[in-house]
Symmetry: C2
Subunit: 484 residues, 2 copies
């Protein structure tokens, strides 16, 4: 794809074909590309810069809550993966197996980690001895691999990047507190403040929980096509792994006890969520806090005033950079301003500043907001302050917009006919009563394609209602949606 001067990258309109719009955007904004191995992706520099900002913002929160980073090996012996029965049953079909090292056939197959509970459990059993060693609060940033049948850039790829926290505690209560602290204080806070994506929280039904967990708590977002997206999970693992991996500590009474564990993770899938949650027909709209470029300056140059305009534009860029704004001066030759406008709109840069001879005369700059499309001439005086305020405004506006969409697409019905009718389309979330029978959950999925995304942390009692599937007495209100 040659970068011709007048080339404008076209993307499929979002309402016409949401899936195609997404694919076009990911490829044309140069966020990611397909790799030669089926389902694997290359994260290109612009996409990776977004991920780095997300990673750093999340890493700060993980460390501020007392966790340390470490690194565990990529390869897990098959026998270790098989220790926890539910765990291996859940993951074995998705595992890539290493069978040869150099020319040598291995005696035991090695799994490329699909997640690291098994290898970390094995190490923890060696490291933990006494109550003094608890709590053990470790996180790792790593690549993992799951042999997926159907893949999509960022959203579901064979290999992906993530963080996985793995903690050990003396009691169930401490483990539960950690599980919910991560869910609310780390994940929801991060998603709303940095990504401008509002999150529902709750717990998963047994059918949908992590293989090996007692209870799984997701953060759930709603995408503009009406599909839900599980954006992260925090698991209370109970003693399921500590018993299988023999992770024990001597308590203050000199009695050996199994530890209580949690694990929790979010992944590069969040980049996909970010793209979908805020993008429009002109491309990405990045929340300023995770935008690699927060303001781009496009100089408007004419032969006569070129030198002065470029010099002054560079000065403006320096001023903004000194104020902590991630700014780029796009002074490339051979591209017309209009082409650059389209390029940076496509790439979702929150603020564009146009600067030409007329602006220079007025001691001003022409500002265009990516979120609302608003345009205005802005004085150079106190420009950094102005920009910082507008960036904050954009950040807040994107969250408000996404929240309004989510709230107006969270419906409620106890009526089976209405429920079925709603799920002929993609209505968003539908809150409906369900009994405690997992088979009913399965039947709803077969009938509609919708699954229970979560039940509220404080379950909403529905014992006066009838189950949306079987018509018998319901137990609680559940949030159904079609999902990614």
């Amino acid at each position: 794809m040659a970068k011709d001067k007048d080339f404008v990258k076209e993307i499929t309109p979002r309402d016409q074909d949401f899936g195609q719009w997404y694919n076009d955007l990911v490829r044309k904004a140069e966020l990611a590309d397909y790799a030669p191995v089926r389902g694997c992706m290359v994260i290109r520099p612009y996409g990776f810069a977004i991920w780095e900002l997300m990673r750093d913002a999340l890493d700060r929160r993980i460390k501020a809550t007392g966790h340390e980073n470490a690194y565990f090996p990529l390869l897990i012996p098959e026998s270790l993966l098989q220790r926890e029965a539910d765990h291996v049953e859940g993951f074995a079909p998705e595992v890539a197996w290493v069978t040869h090292g150099g020319d040598e056939k291995l005696e035991e197959r090695l799994a490329i980690r699909p997640t690291s509970e098994a290898i970390i459990g094995e190490m923890y059993s060696k490291w933990i001895h006494s109550w003094r060693d608890l709590p053990l609060l470790i996180n790792q940033w790593a690549n993992v691999l799951r042999w997926e049948k159907v893949t999509r850039l960022f959203l579901r790829t064979t290999e992906f990047l993530w963080q996985e926290g793995h903690t050990c505690h003396a009691t169930y209560e401490e483990a539960q507190e950690e599980t919910l602290m991560i869910l609310n204080d780390v994940y929801v806070d991060f998603a709303e403040k940095e990504l401008a994506i509002p999150m529902y929280t709750g717990f998963k039904t047994d059918r949908e929980k992590f293989p090996g967990a007692l209870v799984t708590y997701p953060i759930e977002a709603l995408m503009p096509d009406g599909r839900a997206l599980q954006a992260g999970t925090s698991h209370n693992l109970g003693q399921n792994f500590s018993k299988m991996f023999n992770i024990r500590y001597e308590d203050k009474n000199n009695t050996m006890q199994y530890v209580w564990q949690t694990s929790w993770g979010v992944s590069t899938r969040l980049v996909g969520a970010l793209i979908m949650a805020h993008g429009d027909d002109r491309g990405l709209r990045l929340p300023p806090r995770v935008a690699p470029i927060q303001a781009v300056i496009v100089p408007i140059v004419f032969e006569k005033t070129k030198e002065q305009v470029l010099a002054k534009a560079a000065e403006i860029a320096q001023t903004l950079e000194a104020a902590g704004i991630r700014v780029k001066l796009d002074d490339r030759d051979g591209y017309k301003p209009g082409w650059k406008f389209n390029e940076w709109e496509m790439r979702g840069v929150p603020i564009r500043l146009e600067f030409g001879p007329k602006d220079m005369e007025k001691n001003a700059v022409f500002m265009a907001r990516r979120d609302t499309g608003e345009k205005a001439s802005v004085p150079l005086e106190n420009l950094a302050d102005t920009i910082i305020k507008v960036l904050d405004d954009i950040q807040a506006g994107l969250l408000a917009e996404a929240t309004e969409y989510r709230d107006t697409h969270t419906l409620q019905t106890a009526d089976r006919e209405e429920f079925l009718q709603l799920f002929e389309g993609r209505p968003g979330y539908v809150k409906s009563p369900i009994c405690a029978n997992g088979d009913c959950e399965g039947a709803v999925k077969d009938d509609t394609g919708a699954t229970i995304r979560f039940i509220k942390l404080e379950p909403e009692d529905a014992t006066s209602e009838k189950c949306i599937n079987c018509g018998e007495k319901a137990k609680w209100w559940a949030y159904f949606a079609k999902a990614y």
Copy 2:
């Protein structure tokens, strides 16, 4: 290993058995541990915190010189790895092969990347079209895997973490400039300023170069046991890969040209170098710039004054933290001060501050330096300034010490007998004349175990000397050493 109150961790004296000293230190300072898969390691939180500081300091330099980060896939199809003949010959014996995904046998084996030239070359051939796309300056931080026969924590492990830069240029000259810029301005600068390890630079002989490179330029350090350690490499790849992967651009005259490439990397091996370069019989000595804890405060508590001492110690910690010092207040119960002193010495914390009732009375703190062992009472007034100065002094002192060792262990001889005699031990570097015949290099290795580590960037002419092996006319002076 229970953390008993009076437990003092013992390590083998360095002069008694350097290898055992190293292993003891890595394990007992909790830097790393062996994993269940042969040759793989777990990087524990303290070791990983050192790596994070190193990574961030290097990443800043990589970005400041115009490079962007990206992420390429872990898995490389066998056919891609085979494209460049020297490359596959060099790496195939060390590759771990994935043959199954879930229950499915793969049609083509997939290599876990031992390095990423092949997969990146394949992507670059799709991304690069015009001279406008050059230079392309990309780096990635990733795990790689090489099926090593003999392994050692950090120094040579089956899986390791590293950064690998991969750049494309329009001309040979630009590629060569990039190769040397990375070597000198990025790697040497980083190693000396952050790790306090002086580096020799030069080029490798053809025998020792990277499989597929035109020329390999290493940074080379000398360890205190007289062995050299290759700490990083920068390769001018010429057009070897661009021709095999068809990476071409249209130049300004509309002619298709193959790009000129470089690649360069350093790895978690540097953590091993850091441990060896500065450690002593009491444990690690960390240069302040890569020390996760730069100053530890150990309160000396007695029943009567406990509350005031702890409160004041916390205040001191806050003051230092506010000044940007990485400080830890070790107020753990159940450990005696002496145990804590040993613990933090073992872990290489540059400065220990003891604070008890007597210090409180004097409005002072008792400071112990890890590098020299010096101890002194220091006023609390302007403590942060004092600490910052001492940290700078320690950083400079460690570099000076390592440089002096390296310089006094760089010998020179043109005499074969002396050469052979020197290499009955481990003398450090020995600079000797060699001819251009690779067989002589091989013979020296067979006779002594020493290899040519590098020849100076500006080769030192030795045509008036005789080759240390064959006695024929020599070409240049080469730096020989036994190496890790």
